[in-house]
Every structure is written in structure tokens, then in C-alpha cells.
Amino acid sequence: MPIVRDDNLAGAAQWMAASGQYNRAARISLALLLLFYTSFTYAQLPFVQNGKAGFVISQFRYALPQDAAETGACPQGMSLNVQDIFAQTAAGKRLPQESDNEYSARLRSGGELFATAADGQNLCMNPEAGEPDPHFRTVDLSTMPMPGIDLDGGHSAEDRAENTCEHVAFTGTDGETGIDNQFYRVVGCSASFQSTGPSNGFDTEMLTGSWGILMTLSGLDDIVDDDSVEVSIYANSDPIQLSPGRKPLAYATYLADPDPEFSATTQGRIKDGILTTDPTDVLFHHVVNSMYLRRPLRAARLQLAVSEDGRLEGYLAGYAPVEAMYNVLYGYRDGKTSTGELAPLRLRSGSANGAAQVLGHTCNGAYHALYRYADGHRDPETGRCTSISTQYRIEALPAFVIERNENDIGQGISAERSNAL
């Protein structure tokens, strides 16, 4: 039975022993107290059933420090889009008596030069054809307190994992050293990733049901200390359930994505109410402009505080493959339609170039910056790292997760119910 520990009991026993009161009568009293405690004080937690608990991710965003304006992270200013870059050239200066509309049209036209490779390819669709962009500003400063966890287990170059690349780790908001978040260095000087920017908000798609994430804990005996818990992470097949105020609801039922690509299982443990897990590769859905994308995170770990009401809060951190991260955030090159076909080029290219303009970056600048700061999964042949440490701040609510496997199909409700967490 899942329990809530009551440290008062242990304290009482310690006090009795330490104070010399631990005589026979006291032992009897303690035995009775233990009996009472076992029967009544250990409250049944509603979100744990038969050692299993399910959750739905209710908040999901990149774990980033304070804005650049407060940390001084971007002494050269923020990243520019292609029109801003063109405007800084002599040809891009506004002409005398040029109307707003005329100047805007000229900026758009001029900006296209910076969005196009020398061989004529569109740089958002082919960012490798472009050069690193000095107008795509990144963060080299490492002094800002960084939310997140240590991913590579080493705080110096010598004792980092073999397949990582040289990088400077951050110090956490709680003083822990070795926080790996190279992704922040890429986006920290982008206006859209500041606290008021649109790029770090997942609510629109997640809360309208475009995608979602589920979790389950199995073999759960104690939410405070449990040395072995099986943790599974799934994409959600159902839209998240919301209150009239558009807040995610606890205790809704969701079907895990039956595609095994979108599920992962790893081992975890809970110590002092904090769940941590071994690394595992996970894959989530992502949707932009009705295009379906894949958001992978390799060697992903969880560090979550578990509360008595079943809420989880903490970090999901790992290494995002650079090519996939570029597609999810900037290029949408592999965006699919709802039927699984490659989305029309016009939609992919138009969305990528439009986003670059609106969000304030260049595609080739972002692409090369991702590789520049990549610190994971070093290619043994090239020596180049292919993934970048990325941290998500997440919160989760209790939920019932239905895992449907091939054997359950046709078994009806009873099979599904027995698998419900």
C-alpha cells in the first residue's frame, strides 16, 4: 500500500530510546503505536493504485535563467533577423521620402538575400549551405544561476563522459555545480526566448490537444523513499482535459500512444521525495502550423519532486539531436501532414522563413550555433558532437494512463482497466 511517512513516529522512537525511557512498558507502547500507525496513519494516496501511479504533463517549457537584460548575457545585443541585417547595410538604409510601405517592401526584398545561399537554396530549408551568422548572438557568459540538473556527471573536462564535447557547465539556482544547458547558450540572446517571448510557450499546442506527454511509475511503495521504481514516459494519444479556466485537470484518463517509438521505460528511485531516473531516449510529438514534427531527447533523465497530492515538479533533461532540434524550432524540414506525408514545401519553407522573421533569427545562424555548442553524442569519426544538452522545466498532475498493447486490442474494457495506472 502506498504510504505517507510520518517522521514523528521515528522521532518518537528515537526520543524514547535516547531519554532512557525504552523499558518494557515503553516497548509495548511503541508496539501499540506502530500497530495504530500502520493501520490508521498511513493514508492511502488516491493517485497510487496497486503500486502504480500515472501522470499527465501539465506544464512544459525550457528551463532558462533570467532574461538577458538582467543577467548581461548578451553584451552585443540580441539576434537579428534577415531584414534587420539588411537594414544595417548601406543599401538597407531608408531613403529620403520613402514611405513606410515602400521601405517595408524593400526590406523584405533585401532580407531575402540574407535568407538565400550563394547557390540559390533557401537557408531555412538548407541551413548547412550557409555560413555561421555573426548576427545570431549566443551566450558565452556562465555566471548566471541556471535551473536544471547535471547531465554528464562530471564537473571538469577530465571526468566528463567520453562521448561529450568540451563545454562550460553552469552553477544551479541551488548552488549545485555542473548544470549542463548548452541549449541556453544558443537561444539566450534571441528575443523570442526571453520571458515575454513566444518561443518558450507550449501552452497553445499542448493545451489544445495537439500533443501531450504521459508518465507512469510502477512498483511504487513509498513516495518519499523508494530505491526502485520503474518509470515510463509516453506521448499522449488524447487531448489534455481542461477546466473552464483552461487549467489541466487531475485524474483524467488518457491513452498512451500505441506507437512504441513514443514510449520509453527506465529505472528510477525516490530519495527524500525526489524522483531521479537513469537516462533513456524519449520521443515526443510537436506541432507547428498543423505540421507534425518529432521532438527527441536522448539520454533523458528526470528529477522531480513528488508531493502527497500527486503533483510532480522538476526537470526533464537530456541531449536533443541537433538536426531534430533545428527542425522542431527553426526549419520544420521534416514536417508531416496529419496523414503522415511530408508537408508541402511551400508550407514548410513559408513557416520557417516567417518564423525567422517574426521571432528574430536567421536559420543558418541558429543551425550553426546549435552545432557550435553541441556537447553530446560525439561522432567518433568526425569528433563532432551531434546533440545539445537541453533542460525542460515540467509539472505533472495525477492521471490514469491506459497502456494499450497489441495483446489488449479486442480484449475490451476489462483489459484496459487492468492496465490503467
Binding site: A43, P46, D238, Q241, S243, P244, G245, K247, L249, A250, Y251, A252, T253, L255, F400, I402, I413, E416, R417, A420, L421
Partner: protein
């Protein structure tokens, strides 16, 4: 507390002796209304003939039955008047506002547009000669007679037919289109009092003395609305016209046919919707911060859950009515699963399951529909829930609170010294003027304090453990399951259902002289293992169901000259 029901009144004068004596009396006086039970119906008493307004569900069901599904009725119906605990009684006492007339008119026009529109008219018109450009008097007459009979629940008189045919003709002249004109005949049928009101007509008693009787078509209507919640179908109207409802065999044949039909479920649902006061859901609001799971979907599903539980147990399983208070059958949707905190694998629609034995969910009184409806917007209410248990399930009326009572203590759940509702109510009961009623209301209500204002299970309130123990009229219990069994075993539980069912059927309160009849029905209910379909059958077959008390000066709705057997004239 005032024991409103006349049946309950027996308990105050020595319950143990009365049923037997009444039974003996009834054997000597009455016929055999329910042969299967071996009990005899007392001499019929009856009540006045009534004019009862169609409820919204009856209106919609009738249109559905007459014209088929898919007929849009875009109208907002005036809310019903609840009298003596039932909207069914209010249908004979409520008026009809100008707003209602507007809505009926709009609904009639919409129905006529659909029925006689190009897409559907061939289903309803059997006239090969009809065309847009010419008025067809014969076809119009046939249409008016056929649908007039179904909508007005009796044959139309010749002047009534002529009037409606003339309306169609005038419409054709004005609009130049036969079907457009015919719509006005149909609208005339749909906005007439003869459709909107169930006008009961009487006939002399068969033996020339004793209480009068409803005439054949009024019998058919009362029977049909009771057993299908809609107007009589063609077969029942045929049987009425042929005089078959005047014979026990003919009546039983029609009653059994209606109970066996799929429309019977609709009638059972209508009764329990009324008894459980589901109309109050229209006004139900919950604080979205405290109860974020509450929304219109949950409210609709909660009502449907309880109704499905009822019809499944009472009709599909022909179960014991009292088991409604202990059943753990769970008809669930995902929206309900959130409130009940149980998994619902079915992604869309309903699934049938069972609440676990340790879930504390036993009986419809632990459903969201009951618990949320009888709570405040931001907190539970032992008093409202207890009052509802007394009034809805036991027919025991709890008077309203005296004026100028200080509710500040019970309305302040933030007082750390009074963390639970039990604590607050105990203090509130120190006011002598409140103590009497709260002693009656609170014990069953406090037993449901393990459910918050929405109906989600909880064990603590403001950090303090909830004590759900109590007593219901001498039956002690320690938790909600105990309350469920107490309600199941309470002697007033089946008697209250009998009384409400009969009052629902006849649209009026019972009268003192009907006490033996109520005993007869209650005994019959028990003999049939508390089967609700059998109870409804017994009511429908009883003489008292159609009996009309001798005139006491009120206007009789007798329609002289209307003869079911040889056609209608007036």
C-alpha cells in the same frame, strides 16, 4: 419536520395494524386490479379531471413519435412549476405566459417547415395528386385528420377539420404554394390548446353510480403519457376508438404492449428526472477555482449516469427498487472519471463498470448528480443533502428555516476551530429554533460529508478527519455504505416511491380517501419484489387510475357529443 405524505401519516397512528385492516377492507370493496399479486384494489376514489400542460420532454417525445427523429425544435421552453415535490403536479397548476406562446409558435413553424419541406414531405403526405400550384382539399383534409388525431389525441370534429383546411387554403391563396399553405394547418394543430394541454374528458360511470371515468381517449392519453411519456400511438388510439380500453383484457393488452416497448424507458427516465429534481441543474453553478472539474459536460453526464443506473437496474434487470440505494454499478464517461477519480478507458461515450467495494460509492445518493446538486457552489452541505434525502427518497417534508437565523457559523468553513461541517453544525444547532430540523436533516447529510461539494471522495476537511457516522430513523451507521443500507431498508423508501409514482401518473396530490389504494399499491410493490415496471403496471391497470371524483363544483371537461366509438362530433 412535517410528515407530508398521507402514507407516512399512518406511521403516526400505529403503522403495524393499518395495512392489514385496509387490506381486509379492500378485499370486500374492490375488484381485482392486479391478478398476479393476489391483492385486490380498493374501491376507486379518483380525483378531478385535469388540464395538464405538456412538459418539454413530452412535447419533444411526441413530435419524435409522430414525425420521426431528426425534427428540429428550436424553442426554449418555460421552466416547470414544482408542486408538492413534482413538476408533474405543477403541469396542472402552471399558467402559460406570452413568452411560452411565442416559443410554441416558433417551434410549430420550424416543425412545419421541416415536415412539409421538399426533403421530407413525401414521408408525411400520401397524396399523389398534391402539387405546389394547386390546392388539394381532399389531401389537406386527410392530412389534418391523420395528424390531428395523433397530435390532439382524439378524433377532430368536423368543424375543427374544416377550420384547419380553410387555414391551409387561405395560406395557399396568400402564398401561391400548396405546401406553404398546408404548413399553416399543421401550425394550427401544434399551437392549439388541444395539443399543448392534456385536456381530460369524462364519461358517466359504467354502473351509473360511483366515481366517473375518463373517456376512452383521455384514458389512452393518461396511459400513454404515464408509460411512454408521449402522446398515444396509432395502435392505442385505435384501441381507444374501438372501446377496448373499457375491458380489463383490452386494457391489459395495451399496458403490456407499452411496457414492452422501447418507449417505456423514456417514461421511467421522465419520472426519475422529475423525482430527483434534475431540472435544478439548469441553475447549478460551482466555483471554478474550488471545483475545476465541473462544467456543462460533467453536469449532463452526471444526470445521464444516474438515469442509466436507474433504467439498467429497474428495467433491464427488473431489479429491486431499493437496490438503487446500494448498487455499485458505474456508468461512466471520461468527464465523470475525473470527478470520481477512476480510470475510464473508453475514449468516447459510455462504459459500464462497477465501483470497487472500498470506494464508498454505493447507491445513487453517492452519485455526482445527487451530491453536486444538493451542495453549495463552493462547499458541501450536509443540511441540503439531508433535506433532499428526507424529501426526495422518504417523502418527509422539512420546513424552511425560520426567518432571521444566523447562518454565519455554518457558512464559514475557514474557522480553524470548527474545521468540519459536523463541528459547525453542532454549534449551529445550539439555536433552539434550528435544532429540531437539523436533528432530522443532518445525520444522513453528514454521512455524505466524505464527498465534497462536487461529489469527489475525501477523508479530511480542513485537515481534520471526517466523521461520517450517524443514524437514520433508528438505523445506526458508521459510513456512507451504512447510510446506503439504511435507505435500502427504510420502511418509507418503497412507500414514498409508490406515492410519488402515482402522483406523477395522475398529475395531482393524493387525497385522504386514497389511503387504502396507496396501501394496495405498496403491498403490490412488495409482492412483486419492488419491481418498478410491475408497480407501473399495477397503477395503469387499476380502476383508481382512471377514476374521476364526483363533481364538487369545478368545471368538468366533459365534451358532450364526442363519441369514440362512432367518430367525433361536437
Amino acid at each position: 419536520m412535517r410528515f407530508k405524505s398521507i402514507a407516512s401519516g399512518f406511521t403516526r397512528f400505529g403503522w403495524g395494524l393499518l395495512p392489514a385492516s385496509c387490506l381486509l377492507l379492500s378485499v370486500g370493496l374492490g375488484g381485482c386490479g392486479d391478478n398476479q399479486s393476489g391483492l385486490s384494489e380498493p374501491a376507486p376514489v379518483g380525483g378531478p379531471a385535469l388540464m395538464r400542460r405538456l412538459t418539454e420532454s413530452q412535447y419533444r417525445a411526441t413530435i419524435n413519435d409522430v414525425f420521426g427523429p431528426g425534427i428540429s425544435i428550436p424553442a426554449r421552453f418555460e421552466r416547470g412549476l414544482r408542486v408538492e415535490g413534482l413538476l408533474a403536479i405543477g403541469t396542472s397548476e402552471s399558467g402559460m405566459s406570452a413568452f411560452s406562446v411565442e416559443q410554441y409558435d416558433a417551434a410549430a413553424l420550424s416543425i412545419a417547415d421541416t415536415v412539409l419541406g421538399a426533403e421530407h414531405r413525401d414521408r408525411f403526405l400520401n397524396c399523389a395528386t398534391a402539387s405546389e400550384g394547386a390546392f388539394d382539399a381532399q389531401c389537406t383534409t386527410q392530412f389534418v385528420q391523420q395528424y390531428g388525431m395523433q397530435l390532439w389525441r382524439r378524433p377532430l370534429t368536423d368543424p375543427e377539420v374544416s377550420s384547419l383546411v380553410n387555414a391551409a387554403h387561405q395560406g395557399f391563396i396568400q402564398l401561391g404554394d400548396y405546401y406553404e399553405g398546408l404548413k399553416y394547418a399543421l401550425v394550427g394543430l401544434l399551437v392549439a390548446p388541444d395539443f399543448l394541454l392534456r385536456i381530460e374528458r369524462t364519461q358517466a360511470p359504467p354502473e351509473g353510480s360511483g366515481p366517473g371515468q375518463l373517456d376512452a381517449f383521455s384514458r389512452a392519453a393518461r396511459l400513454s403519457f404515464f408509460l411512454t411519456n408521449a402522446s398515444p400511438d396509432k395502435e392505442l388510439l385505435r384501441a381507444a376508438a374501438a372501446g377496448e380500453l373499457d375491458t380489463p383484457e383490452g386494457l391489459a393488452s395495451q399496458v403490456d404492449r407499452l411496457i414492452a416497448s422501447s418507449r417505456f424507458t423514456r417514461a421511467v427516465r421522465a419520472f426519475f428526472e422529475d423525482m430527483l429534481q434534475f431540472d435544478l441543474f439548469a441553475d447549478l453553478a460551482k466555483d471554478p477555482v474550488i471545483y475545476p472539474a465541473f462544467n456543462s459536460t460533467l453536469a449532463a453526464d452526471a444526470q445521464e449516469q444516474t438515469l442509466r443506473t436507474i433504467t439498467d437496474l429497474l428495467i433491464e434487470q427488473n431489479g429491486d427498487y431499493r437496490d438503487l440505494f446500494t448498487t455499485r454499478n458505474a456508468h461512466l464517461t471520461r468527464a465523470l472519471g475525473i470527478a470520481y477519480r477512476v480510470p475510464v478507458p473508453t475514449r468516447k461515450g459510455w462504459e459500464v463498470s462497477e465501483f470497487s467495494a472500498d470506494s464508498n460509492r454505493a447507491g445513487i445518493q453517492t452519485h455526482i448528480a445527487f451530491l453536486a446538486l444538493h451542495s453549495h457552489p463552493g462547499r458541501s452541505s450536509p443540511s441540503l443533502r439531508g433535506k433532499a434525502i428526507r424529501e426526495v427518497f422518504l417523502c418527509q417534508e422539512v420546513p424552511p428555516p425560520p426567518p432571521e437565523v444566523n447562518f454565519s457559523v455554518v457558512q464559514d468553513p475557514s474557522d480553524a476551530n470548527l474545521p468540519t461541517a459536523r463541528d459547525r453544525l453542532e454549534l449551529h444547532r445550539t439555536e433552539p429554533s434550528c435544532a429540531g430540523c437539523h436533528r432530522i436533516m443532518d445525520p444522513p447529510g453528514l454521512a455524505l460529508e466524505n464527498f465534497d461539494g462536487l461529489g469527489t471522495f475525501r477523508t479530511v476537511e480542513n485537515g481534520a478527519a471526517i466523521d461520517a457516522s450517524g443514524s437514520l430513523d433508528g438505523i445506526d451507521f458508521t459510513n456512507t455504505n451504512g447510510l446506503a443500507q439504511a435507505l435500502h431498508d427504510h420502511r418509507e423508501t418503497p412507500r414514498c416511491l409508490v406515492e410519488k409514482m402515482y402522483r406523477f401518473a395522475v398529475g395531482r396530490d393524493t387525497v385522504w380517501d386514497e389511503r387504502p389504494y396507496m396501501d394496495y399499491l405498496t403491498e403490490t410493490f412488495a409482492v412483486h419484489s419492488y419491481s418498478v415496471p410491475q408497480l407501473m403496471r399495477a397503477i395503469a391497470l387499476s380502476k383508481n387510475f382512471f377514476a374521476i371524483a364526483p363533481p364538487t363544483g369545478e368545471t368538468s371537461h366533459n365534451l358532450a357529443g364526442l363519441s369514440p366509438a362512432n367518430g367525433a362530433t361536437r
